[in-house]
């Protein structure tokens, strides 16, 4: 079973990193890295201008944390594109391209197939984002002379959990649809429209922070530097990092999404008939 898993994983991993999608994502990530590096070099001396005047006397550590917050803010959106590009067609393409006739008839457990493909998609998503993380570390160390490794490691750990959850989520949508385009569009619309709209409605109408939404939990990637939730309108402002309970809460939300969506995808694929 494990050799089966590894063989399928290797096969799809190679497919992914040889695909045009991978290079497109690499270009997007590289572009984002260049833009953020430019911002870091040009804006590091003026980063306090972002803040209310009361907090203008900013220490070097906080100035650096604020800059890392900006890097992480962009970083938390990149996995959405990467994982949607890699994962949305993962199952639906097998139906649309009719490769499912061949793949699903192989003597391979469909659960193993889904899990191996899932892990391959997660791996290439993480690899594509390494460019961004590497650029961040280099730029921050060059400009500030040091880096807050503790917060950086928390942010990276949260990023990996987010990628696991988001990839599982897009796998579930991919397993529901028989056409790639529908899977792509639904993934983007659910994440960027439905989640954000529900978040706004619950917060503005009911003053409730929708911690259970994936986009809300993903803010922990930047909130480990400074605990400002960019998905919530508020005048509250302080430079403090998110506490351990916030980190655990987001981690639990990611784990729930990962398990629920993966199991959902497995159930759908196991019962799917290739027509």
């Amino acid at each position: 079973m494990s050799s089966n898993f590894f063989n399928i994983y290797s096969h799809y991993f190679r497919n992914y990193y040889r695909s045009k999608s991978f290079y497109l994502i690499l270009i997007i990530v590289a572009l984002a890295s260049v833009l953020m590096s430019y911002l870091t070099f040009k804006y590091s001396n003026r980063v306090s201008e972002m803040l209310p005047s009361r907090l203008i006397s900013l220490s070097k550590v906080n100035s650096e944390l604020l800059m890392m917050y900006l890097w992480a803010y962009i970083m938390s959106s990149l996995p959405v594109f990467a994982s949607v590009f890699f994962s949305s067609p993962a199952i639906s393409s097998e139906i649309e391209m009719r490769t499912g006739y061949f793949v699903f008839s192989q003597p391979v457990d469909r659960t193993i197939l889904v899990l191996a493909k899932y892990m391959a998609a997660v791996t290439v998503t993480i690899i594509s984002l390494l460019v961004y993380a590497f650029s961040e570390v280099i730029s921050i160390i060059y400009v500030y002379g040091f880096i807050e490794y503790n917060q950086l490691l928390w942010s990276m750990a949260m990023l990996i959990l987010f990628i696991l959850a988001l990839t599982a989520f897009t796998f579930l949508l991919s397993s529901i649809f028989n056409k790639n385009l529908y899977a792509y569009i639904t993934s983007f619309v659910v994440y960027f429209v439905i989640f954000y709209a529900v978040n706004l409605i619950l917060y503005l109408l009911y003053n409730y922070n929708a911690f259970f939404l994936l986009n809300n939990a993903a803010t922990i990637i930047e909130r480990v530097y400074i605990n400002i939730n960019p998905t919530i309108f508020t005048s509250n402002f302080s430079l403090n990092p998110a506490g351990i309970n916030d980190i655990i809460l987001s981690s639990v939300v990611f784990v729930i999404y990962t398990i629920a969506c993966l199991v959902g995808a497995i159930v759908v694929v196991e019962n799917k008939e290739v027509q």
């Binding site: 911690f211 403090n240 729930i256 497995i266 196991e270």
Partner: protein, 255 residues
């Protein structure tokens, strides 16, 4: 194992993880709403909450010292280089970044000096202070930081570090906040090795709950009739628990 059975097992295992995880996440969410409980250390030996004009002030301490958590309002305001308290301006010195929080230092000298300057246009330096004790005292410092929007924590350095540790590591007062969550004039919580005492004070009465983890409280049985004579209502009394209500009128009678 056939396909249906395998799926059933997968779904059951997933549900066994997801359902308790969801309940845990919801309970955790309730504790992550940033508020005073997140910054009061769980090992505080005393916590006093005072409710006044819709605002709550918290005084708490441990063997590390004491601290006060107060809202920033018209009486207390924090600017980038000074703290204004009742129109008295006290200069702030940046001390250090502790656990992600900018901590500032103020000396007692500056507090007293600012107060005297505000009160009578005189300066502390104009007072001939010969007493070494007073000189040493005025050299003592308090530390403060903004834990979350529009609030300040002021206290000794040890307790300030304690509050930041409590927030960053989750060892805070969230689980014990129920002890001081009523809306009377004040609530209190006292914890020592042997006993936990909590209660609240209203306009008409004082509610006290005493719980002993070791020892025996039952010797108070003989005193209950005396307490009742004083107007104290003993709700519960056994070997480890004493619960009573003291009417304010019974206290005023004694004086």
């Amino acid at each position: 194992m056939n396909s249906k059975m395998k799926l059933l097992v997968i779904v059951i295992v997933a549900a066994a993880i997801i359902i308790p995880a969801s309940i845990y996440a919801y309970n955790l969410y309730l504790t992550t709403q940033v508020g005073p409980a997140n910054f009061i250390p769980s090992n505080s030996t005393f916590v006093l909450k005072i409710n006044q004009n819709g605002s709550s002030y918290y005084i708490f301490g441990s063997d590390k010292g004491f601290a006060i958590l107060t809202p920033i309002n018209s009486e207390i305001q924090m600017q980038k280089s000074n703290l204004t308290f009742n129109n008295t301006s006290i200069p702030l010195t940046k001390y250090a970044n502790i656990g992600g929080f900018e901590v500032y230092q103020i000396t007692l000298y500056n507090i007293i000096d600012g107060y005297l300057t505000n009160q009578s246009s005189r300066y502390l330096s104009s007072y001939p202070i010969n007493d070494q004790f007073i000189q040493n005292l005025t050299n003592e410092s308090l530390y403060l930081y903004e834990p979350y929007s529009n609030h300040l924590i002021v206290g000794t350095l040890g307790e300030i570090k304690n509050t930041i540790y409590a927030y960053n590591h989750g060892t805070n007062f969230s689980n014990k906040y129920k002890y001081i969550s009523s809306k009377g004039l004040a609530e209190f919580y006292i914890n020592s090795n042997n006993e936990t005492i909590w209660g609240n004070i209203s306009n008409t009465s004082i509610y006290v709950f005493v719980h002993l983890t070791n020892g025996n409280i039952s010797q108070l049985y003989n005193e209950t009739s005396y307490l009742r004579d004083l107007g104290v209502k003993v709700i519960k009394l056994n070997s480890s628990t004493l619960e009573l209500i003291i009417p304010v009128s019974s206290i005023s009678k004694q004086f």
